[in-house]
Amino acid sequence: MFAKRVLIAAAVAAMSTAVISACSGSSSSKGSAGSGGAVVVVTPDTSWTWALDNGFGGLEPSMNVVGATLIRNPYKDTGTNGVLAQNVSDYEPYLAKSWEVSADNKTVTFHLADAVSQQGNPLTSDDVIWSWERRFGAPTSISPSIQNPQITSLDQFKKIDDKTFTVTLDQPGHLSTFFGLIANVTAYIYDSKYLKAHVTSDDPYAVKFTTTNPNYGFGPYTVTNFQPGVTATLTANDKFVLGAPKIKTIIYKIVPDEGTRLNLLKSGDADVALNLSPSDMASLKTTDGTALLTAPDPNSYIMMPLLGNKAPFDKTLVRQAMAYAVPYDQIINDVFHGQAFRKSSAFLRSDAPGYDGSGFTDFKYDPAKAKELLAQAGVSLPVKFALHVSAAEPDMQEAAVQIQSFAKDAGFDITIEQVPASAFGEGRTNHTFQAFLLLDYSITLTPSYELNVYTALNPDGSPAGNNLGAWVNKDFVAAKAKADSTVTDPYTPEAGKAWNAAERIFINEAPIVMIAQIQPTTAFRSDLKGITWRSDQWIDWGQASKG
């Protein structure tokens, strides 16, 4: 009898909780976010770290703190909600006040600005060279793979004097991507004097030191409070080389649940909400006082790599058939609620000067065409495979269900395998899946980098870890190499043709189905201006103002 009563009581409590949580809406009163000039940002727990050259962590969060680079992409007003977007086809001075390119397009001479670090040390050429020494020397650094083949050795860097140094490239075709790389997240400049004072035999580049000491650069903010998994406070750096930021305090709060983040933004208890779901973003379009971060040409893609190192996608015809079996419109409308779009099958930036988008197969949902290709491939129907998704990405799971449903008519029998994020990362890197879904973006937006980042090969010719489709194609490699070696300015019609030759092979062979471009998942209170869209998906608070 006692157990029965306990059960009934528990059931009533559970139901009450469910009803209360389901019926709870946003509070009617305006919250107190950003009082005293501070901006409150709510974000999911992304295991923040400030230590750079320590795996993939820390790159984006550090952008406002350590993250000053030699040059950067200028911002232009999008004309929507006061949002600024990077002009990725151009560069402007940052820590380097000027630079010259040699006649052979292989050597760049940089002249440094009179910048002072967060620790009060002046910027010198030694800082620049030591920053790259750390990137090459720290065993956990990812920069060598990302900056290859443009920057491969410290020997490329030469100090002229304290404010002048040169970088020499192997070939002139590397110049455009070199500029793209040094303007982005893997090229921050560190305060070498400060870090060298804290190296140890166990930590020769002070990587571990920087996990708890984040102010080791020349960025617009300093970290004045950090509780891992809870909150981080950034305070404006009055010594910043481009002038002190207008917003004096940024408070990041970890809020794991996306529904809660949305409610905090709506109520005014938060000024910015990151990583909202597409349906929540769509609901904000009709909510007063909020605005969406909208990019003119977002670089974030939902993509479906089809691994060519095993059946069934070791056959090109089967991959192409799968590209015809994806319900693109349903994913864009029902999963992303219009927060995504698809211009074509292509991948490179179609708004780049000189871009040539001719000759691509226009993959649309066409089950009859898919079956025709499968018949040509000589495979029996249905073609069975496992589609892996990360348990940490609910949008990908929803897209997977759409693909599974609609691909049946195209002759595919898909089992969705949802795995924890760590297992997903391992499978992705080790190429153990047959196919998977992910949302990813290329930060450096030059044709050479974009086409290389997901198709790179190891020195022995095997697919590198980030070669998502485990794809090796000699014609593609040759076309890329030809464009790399002959094109110095990627934004001319000649360059467009050269890169088109490579992109055409990539798109038509379909090692990765580029499903749609995804808009940023950030929303903010409409009294904030100067919110930036960047290719690294982070907000440059140095540009923002409030009120």
Binding site: A11, E258, P394, E398, V401, Q402, S405
Partner: protein, 294 residues
């Protein structure tokens, strides 16, 4: 003079009881706690065949509120919540029934083995004492952690989830039986059976087993409920059955975030179903396995 006593030759039989409506209703009422579980089982069996829409295919627009063609609305993927809530009963009930049966059977056998032999010398005694330590270890680690580890190794399926939960839930059943065995084996009727010549396996099977297994049988319904909740928890953690296989836990997991912004239906309906299933099995178990006093 003699006297003659004559007696009528009517047979002496017990008077027939009248079967009255009142008696029928009283009997039916006494079994009332079992009816909900019968309904749940019925839904589990026929549910996937009677649902109006496919529970695993996109049925319509996403996030539709209840009404019209979608009695319980649609979830964030466009799947019909009503069809999935009904169809999920089969997966959850199947896993829970198998888990309860395996855990209870294994628990009774282990409890008997341990209880009858742990104080002995010799091989059987060592084995029994070793098994006690194994049970201690399994109970020391949180159930969900063990389930996660097992699922990570063997993958997710109805069988792997059933095996994982049977491993987690057997120790408690075994402990209950062991405790009862320690009491029962000193009872007078056991001594009497021994004096009558019964030994070993026959003694255990005929006299100890029927009297020591009641705690595990009474507890079986709670094991059932626990299995459903652990399955739901694993689904909530994202390591349940393959999506979009209907299962209450994973539905509650994906619906929880929607509920926070007012889209309550994909969370509330599977949660109600889960509560009804667990509560009804608990009540039925109490009714079926209640020991008669004296």
């Amino acid at each position: 003079m003699t006297a003659t006593i004559s007696m009528s030759k009517e047979k002496l039989t017990a008077p027939k009881r009248k079967v009255s409506l009142r008696r029928i209703l009283a009997t039916a009422w006494s079994w009332a706690p079992v009816y909900p579980v019968a309904v749940v089982f019925l839904i589990a069996v026929i549910g996937p065949w009677i649902v109006p829409l496919s529970p695993i295919d996109v049925a319509g627009p996403t996030n539709q509120s209840p009404g019209g063609a979608f009695h319980f609305g649609t979830d964030s993927t466009g799947l019909d919540v009503f069809s999935r809530t009904i169809a999920a009963a089969r997966n959850d009930i199947l896993i829970a029934t198998l888990t309860s049966a395996i855990a209870t059977t294994a628990g009774i056998l282990l409890g008997l083995l341990i209880g009858m032999n742990e104080s002995r010398r010799g091989l059987l005694g060592w084995v029994a004492r070793f098994l006690v330590r194994v049970l201690d270890l399994l109970q020391a680690v949180p159930a969900v952690v063990i389930a996660l580890a097992l699922v990570a190794v063997v993958g997710t399926s109805v069988i792997s989830l059933t095996v994982a939960m049977a491993i987690i839930l057997t120790p408690n059943q075994a402990r209950m039986v062991r405790t009862e065995v320690l009491k029962v084996r000193t009872d007078a009727y056991i001594d009497a059976a021994r004096m009558a010549g019964e030994r070993g396996f026959a003694l255990t099977l005929r006299h100890v087993l029927p009297n020591a297994s009641w705690p595990a049988l009474e507890n079986a319904s709670l094991v059932f409920g626990a299995a459903i909740l652990i399955t739901a928890t694993l689904g909530f953690l994202g390591v349940g059955l393959h999506p979009p296989t209907p299962e209450w836990g994973s539905m509650i997991s994906t619906g929880a975030s929607d509920a926070a912004v007012g889209r309550w239906w994909s969370f509330v309906f599977p949660a109600i179903a889960l509560v009804i299933a667990v509560a009804s099995f608990a009540m039925a178990g109490q009714r079926l396995f209640k020991r008669r006093a004296g």
